[in-house]
Amino acid sequence: MITEFNGEFLTDDTIVSEELSFKRIDDPSVLPGRISTEKTVYVVPSLSADFFLLFPTARAIVTTAGSPLSHLAILAREHNIPVFLAQNVDLNSLDSEGRCTLIAQ
């Protein structure tokens, strides 16, 4: 199943329409064991700077809360990593990993 994230980019990015793999990360303290070896879309609960640790392998970062002025969004812009605010996601019911597409509205 492909999860469709609908929302808007908080960074200056255009539509990333291809199918991508994603991982849900709720707690950054577990990251050393959860980081992917290949570029991945990370789904996180906030744009806390804690998630800076995702940058080496982030294809994009999807969140359900935050703004263009959130610290992680500012940092992501500097590192050319798209940040996407998904308005249709219930993080509690989202699988811990899977395939997804980002649909900017």
Partner: protein
């Protein structure tokens, strides 16, 4: 959707979300309120962007934790009151930042506290800084840092911290001015870099308060008999003790 200061807060740390929410709502109310309240607030914002940000910078830079008392509960009260003084400075600064750069399309030209934290962690991973140096400067930080229940970096093993440093060292880094140098160099109206730097300086100081509150709560847990974790009690429960 708005970001919460503390994600999945413990009962005690709901306090920090409440302080953040009340502070934000109070300022937003003035921005959207009656004519005179709005004019007054707009004037305050303009003054902040012209020069006022510099006194907030100085106040945050020179901040020190309040002196400790004998009684743990009094210390917690004192620290919470200090948090209530410091946090609105961050909220107001955020409103000012949103006023001059609402879409976030700017480059931060200063090394923020968060950048400094990552730099020392990277240097520790690469062998040019020690674990103790990192803990001395950023031991009060934590993941989900405004959650008092969260273990502080000072409580981590150096091996654990090195794993985070190893990850961070894979991210390209840029050499930037320190906030102090930038403040000296750019003395005119506030830029986004000033305000992002001040925000992160404020966070650094606010986390010192949260970390000190955590220490007091752990001390209290050792003194008193709690049926559950001390963090499962609200702040109001604590001050009734």
């Amino acid at each position: 959707m708005d970001e919460k200061l503390v994600h999945n807060p413990s009962r005690f740390s709901e306090l920090f979300n409440r302080v953040a929410r009340e502070s934000t709502e109070s300022m937003e109310k003035r921005l959207s309120g009656g004519f005179f309240a709005r004019v007054k607030f707009e004037g305050k914002l303009r003054a902040y962007l012209m020069a006022g940000y510099r006194s907030t910078y100085t106040r945050l830079r020179d901040f020190t934790l309040p002196d400790r008392e004998e009684r743990t509960v009094e210390n917690i009260q004192k620290l919470v009151n200090t948090f209530k003084e410091i946090y609105p400075l961050i909220v107001f600064n955020n409103i000012a930042l949103a006023r001059i750069a609402p879409d976030g399309s700017f480059t931060v030209e200063v090394m923020t506290k968060e950048d400094e934290k990552n730099r020392i962690l990277r240097e520790f991973s690469e062998g040019s800084a020690t674990c103790e140096e990192f803990k001395e400067q950023f031991g009060h930080y934590a993941f989900n840092g405004y959650e008092a229940q969260e273990r502080r970096f000072s409580e981590y093993d150096c091996e654990e911290l090195k794993k985070f440093g190893d990850i961070i060292s894979q991210v390209p880094h840029q050499v930037k001015l320190s906030l102090g140098e930038y403040m000296e160099e750019k003395t005119g109206a506030a830029t986004p870099s000033h305000l992002v730097g001040i925000r992160e300086l404020g966070k650094n100081q606010a986390l010192k308060i949260v970390s000190a509150i955590r220490d007091e709560l752990i001390r209290l847990e050792k003194l008193d008999t709690f049926e559950s974790s001390v963090f499962d009690h609200s702040y109001e429960d604590m001050i009734r003790l």
